[in-house]
């Protein structure tokens, strides 16, 4: 059965990555994976790096590698603010791998409880999430 559609905007600092009506948005917040359908209750959430799926229909899915960001759902519209939204086939896996190695060694060097440590952990999460996405 087809679901009702609602407008979704995915906005990055480089501009708009996606603006169409979809049936469902699937992503991950700091609390856990969520799927959003039309007429969801108003929501403001933190997004974690993951694979963002936008369901134009049951079969037609637009996918993005989504970095950290925010999701706002209000008045039956979804707004996703993310630092990056990259098409899965455009991911540079070698670069991600080297960044991951770099972040891991930065984590070892960072003093316990420092901001540096927190940043390194976030970078590791991002690289791991992106590497897990199928091209």
């Amino acid at each position: 059965m087809a679901h009702a559609r609602f407008p979704v905007e995915v906005v990055t600092p480089e501009g708009e990555a996606f603006a169409e009506e979809v049936e469902m948005v699937s992503t991950r917040t700091a609390v856990g994976t969520i799927g959003i359908l039309a007429r969801h209750e108003p929501l403001l959430g933190l997004l974690e790096p993951t694979e963002l799926r936008l369901y134009r229909s049951e079969e037609e899915i637009v996918r993005f590698a989504q970095a950290e960001g925010y999701i706002q759902f209000q008045d039956n519209r979804a707004l996703l603010l993310v630092e990056e939204a990259i098409a899965p086939e455009a991911l540079d896996r070698d670069e991600l791998q080297s960044r991951l190695t770099e972040a891991r060694s930065a984590l070892e060097r960072a003093p316990e409880g420092s901001e540096q440590q927190a940043r390194a952990r976030r970078e590791i999460r991002r690289c791991e999430a992106f590497l897990a996405i199928e091209p």
Partner: protein, 303 residues
């Protein structure tokens, strides 16, 4: 003694070559300027939405902003970091030197108050000029001034946030060229950290407030995932990242604008020089002809 025709002709040819190069550079800069302007526009929806969400989360969290480390002013303020935003290349008029000058003046000011100053520089020009003066920058970011990406801005912002949060510095200032128009760039000096609470929480970019009033006629209960205070704690650093990104984009647009203007002036000067030299060449030719006629006449008389 006037130069010979051949000498002048050679000079004209070389000036003409230079003019071709400066014309080409002017056109390249104009094309890149257009793209840079578009990117400033593209950032606006994201930046506005971040500002809007920050206000919302701050209202919802209810807690004062005092709990946010990036908003807390340090007293005493002993160590200052200055971020200079320059370009990777020269040939752009006063573009790089005016940032450098303003940055050094800023540093001087802080030093006179008994604070120590460390530099961060983006753009090869800034990095090498600082190194030349014997002040190696704490952080050097090069290779992207033509087209900075958000991840470049994030790298810079994160280093500064880390330095601030881990108390290596107490104040971070940024000096960059703000883009006004292709002809006008304005050197700006702004405080990046601590973030001014007013800037984050009260700023209402034109028109947005009305839109919100319509929607917020009746306050809708919003589900926060996770707690609004946690969301706010992440939004503030993002605000800093966006600020750095905007400065990089403005600086890039300014750089292309300044280069375009500098190259246009260079092309015009070359045109003038070609005019002068052509006149000189015609004079030299005329002098040669006159000389020959005189010789012929003198020769005929001698017969």
């Amino acid at each position: 003694m006037p130069q010979s025709q051949r000498d002048v002709r050679n000079r004209i040819a070389s000036v003409r070559n230079i003019q071709k190069i400066t014309r080409a550079m002017e056109m390249v800069a104009a094309a890149r300027l257009r793209r840079a302007e578009q990117r400033i526009t593209a950032l606006r929806p994201y930046a506005n939405a971040i500002a809007r969400m920050t206000r919302k989360a701050a209202q919802a969290s209810g807690a004062g902003t005092a709990t946010l480390p990036l908003l807390a002013e340090r007293d005493p303020c002993e160590r200052v970091a200055v971020l200079l935003v320059t370009g990777d290349r020269g040939l752009a008029g006063a573009f790089n030197s005016q940032v450098l000058r303003a940055g050094l003046r800023t540093a001087e000011e802080h030093r006179s108050l008994g604070r120590s100053v460390s530099f961060y520089a983006s753009g090869r020009r800034g990095v090498s000029s600082l190194a030349f003066r014997g002040t190696e920058p704490e952080g050097a970011y090069v290779g992207f001034s033509d087209r900075p990406s958000f991840s470049d801005a994030r790298r810079i912002a994160q280093d500064l946030i880390v330095a601030y949060s881990d108390r290596a510095v107490d104040l971070v200032e940024i000096v960059y060229n703000r883009y006004v128009s292709p002809l006008v760039q304005e050197v700006r000096r702004e405080v990046l950290l601590p973030v001014a609470a007013a800037a984050v929480l009260d700023q209402a970019p034109g028109g947005l407030r009305e839109e919100e009033h319509q929607q917020d006629g009746r306050p809708t209960p919003v589900d926060y995932e996770p707690d609004p205070a946690v969301i706010l704690a992440r939004l503030v650093p993002d605000y800093v990242e966006v600020s750095v990104f905007r400065s990089l984009l403005e600086s890039t647009a300014s750089e292309h604008g300044a280069r375009m203007t500098a190259m246009r002036n260079a092309s015009e000067n070359a045109g003038e020089l070609i005019g002068d030299l052509t006149l000189q060449m015609n004079r030299a030719r005329q002098a040669e002809i006159t000389q020959e006629i005189l010789e012929v006449v003198a020769g005929a008389e001698g017969l």
